[in-house]
């Protein structure tokens, strides 16, 4: 099918326009579509990490940092949007942290955890929950409860150190 407009190039953009209850269909080549001011959809991922990364202000020199485990440079990650291995998350931690927050609106995992990490993970969550409760009870001046919670947190943290 050729472009409705120039009748030379193959039509790649197909769209419908609804105007006064009348539906008209158009088939245009990319060039004519852009000229007509129609947004040309990208076949690639609409949500590109590289775009976000480029949009973020970077600390000077972070491009040069390299993951020791797989050899991926931060620049390669910026360009390709994919990390090389689990260790990259450690290696580029300072950059990954704000990036995750930017993508997900959070950078703390809540949810299931592998069997290998259970216990440790659950305990950590419990401690975090108790800390939140602690600060709430301090705010509401319930110091008796706060003292209880403080002791419980201390106990759990001691256990956690023992586990590790």
């Amino acid at each position: 099918m050729l472009c409705d407009n120039c009748e030379k190039e193959p039509a790649k953009i197909h769209y419908k326009e609804i105007k006064d209850n009348q539906v008209s269909e158009f088939h245009l080549c990319e060039k004519c579509a852009i000229e007509k001011g129609i947004q040309v959809p990208h076949n690639k991922q609409p949500f590109s990490i590289s775009n976000i990364l480029t949009g973020m202000s970077e600390e000077a020199g972070s491009d040069l940092s390299t993951c020791k485990a797989c050899g991926l440079t931060y620049k390669e990650f910026r360009d390709g949007g994919r990390l090389g291995c689990a260790n990259c998350y450690e290696a580029f931690k300072e950059n990954i942290k704000p990036l995750l927050r930017r993508i997900h609106g959070s950078n703390v995992h809540i949810g299931k955890s592998p069997r290998s990490s259970q216990g440790v993970f659950e305990k950590r969550r419990e401690i975090e929950d108790l800390k939140i409760e602690l600060s709430r009870s301090i705010e509401s001046e319930d110091f008796e409860r706060a003292a209880e919670l403080r002791d419980k947190i201390k106990e759990l943290e001691r256990q956690q150190e023992g586990d590790q």
């Binding site: 609804i18 959809p41 076949n43 690639k44 991922q45 609409p46 949500f47 990490i49 485990a69 797989c70 991926l72 949007g81 994919r82 990390l83 090389g84 291995c85 689990a86 998350y89 990954i96 990036l99 995750l100 993508i103 997900h104 609106g105 959070s106 950078n107 703390v108 995992h109 809540i110 949810g111 299931k112 955890s113 592998p114 069997r115 290998s116 990490s117 440790v120 993970f121 950590r124």
Partner: protein, 352 residues
């Protein structure tokens, strides 16, 4: 795998006339291996072997079909894409890549796609919580045998940071013809994206919308529990279905004869066509599906419509006839297929 309709298109589950399917996928990686795109060929082969062994030991998947991508021809790969069992990307690469498909296609795993393991569960209708439970169980079974790449802080680590955290993408494929016809769809889609969800086309990421079918899914995977992700998707989809219902009422009130005409013209083409493109089948079945929901049509079932959509896909047609066909020949056999399905449906319902 038979060239029939996928079992997860059986029309079961709540809202099945408007929600075609529910899907949950989990992104997982093996600890101690570079991610697939960064792995050397021998590392990729080893990751494949480790994954394969773990899947063989998983109760819910041990009787599944293991298929190496390098053993499959172009047509078979395309067939798996059409059945929503592998991604386009997975179909394009071949060395040390595989897919394992469970007995009824409800569970499947891609090995060495963007992540070492991509677990997926698909169910018919509005059953996204069931899909989550199935894939969660499979995940537990795999977890007993291998160590996943995981961080206490950030959860399951993924090649792409958008998947890191729970690794969950939950989605539902929803039919929204009335919102499209009444011109409210853009507003609704905008609302969906403001609630932190994404909308995609029929074949998922990067694909276009066909036959008024929209895939609604979560966009973020970190900082929310799996159950919360699934529940908020359920909530949003229910809300969207509610809007769709209201739009259908408006159509019935203000444009009944136009809609009836559109539905029956579409029905007529499906019944008598001799050459039809897949895109057209998508659009015709959409009209008839709307007619079915509005009780204008009763001679075809949801399953029949799902079957037409699936069986008229290019690789499905070619697989069934056992040979490669050009687009023009496909259009002819597609018309035959569609007419046959409709005739069978009419015979079953005793109408026509």
């Amino acid at each position: 795998m038979a060239v029939s309709t996928s079992p997860w298109l059986c029309g079961e589950g709540e809202y099945a006339e408007s929600v075609i399917s529910s899907r949950v996928r989990l992104a997982r990686n093996l600890a101690g291996f570079p991610f697939a795109h960064r792995a050397k060929p021998e590392e990729l082969r080893e990751a494949l072997a480790v994954s394969k062994k773990a899947l063989e030991g998983a109760d819910t998947l041990k009787t599944g079909d293991f298929m190496l991508m390098s053993d499959l021809g172009d047509l078979d790969r395309q067939f798996l894409v059409e059945r929503h069992l592998i991604s386009h990307e997975h179909a394009e690469k071949s060395s040390a890549r595989a897919v394992v498909v469970g007995d009824n296609e409800m569970l499947s795993v891609m090995i060495n796609e963007e992540d070492h393991l991509r677990l997926q569960s698909i169910r018919s209708g509005f059953q996204v919580m069931d899909a989550w439970r199935m894939v969660d169980r499979l995940d537990d079974e795999i977890d007993k045998q291998i160590e996943y790449a995981f961080s206490y802080e950030w959860g399951y680590l993924s090649a792409c940071p958008t998947n890191t955290g729970t690794g969950v993408r939950a989605s539902m494929l929803v039919h929204l013809p009335a919102l499209v016809h009444t011109g409210q769809i853009d507003k609704v889609l905008h609302g969906i994206s403001q609630m932190g969800l994404a909308v995609r086309g029929f074949y998922g990421e990067g694909s276009e919308v066909m036959g008024n079918l929209f895939q609604i899914s979560n966009r973020t995977a970190l900082g929310t529990s799996e159950i919360d992700i699934v529940q908020s998707l359920e909530k949003v989809v229910k809300q969207v279905l509610d809007y769709e219902g209201k739009a259908r009422e408006i159509l019935l009130r203000d444009a009944r004869s136009q809609i009836e005409d559109k539905v029956w013209r579409a029905y007529g083409i499906l019944k008598y066509c001799r050459k039809v493109a897949h895109r057209e089948v998508m659009s015709l079945t959409s009209a008839v599906r709307l007619g079915l929901c509005l009780k204008m049509v009763d001679s075809i079932s949801v399953v029949g419509l799902n079957s037409m959509v699936f069986r008229s896909q290019p690789a499905h047609l070619q697989k069934r006839f056992g040979r490669q066909m050009g687009p023009s020949e496909r259009d002819v056999v597609r018309a035959d297929t569609v007419r046959k399905v409709l005739a069978e449906e009419e015979a079953t319902t005793g109408t026509g």
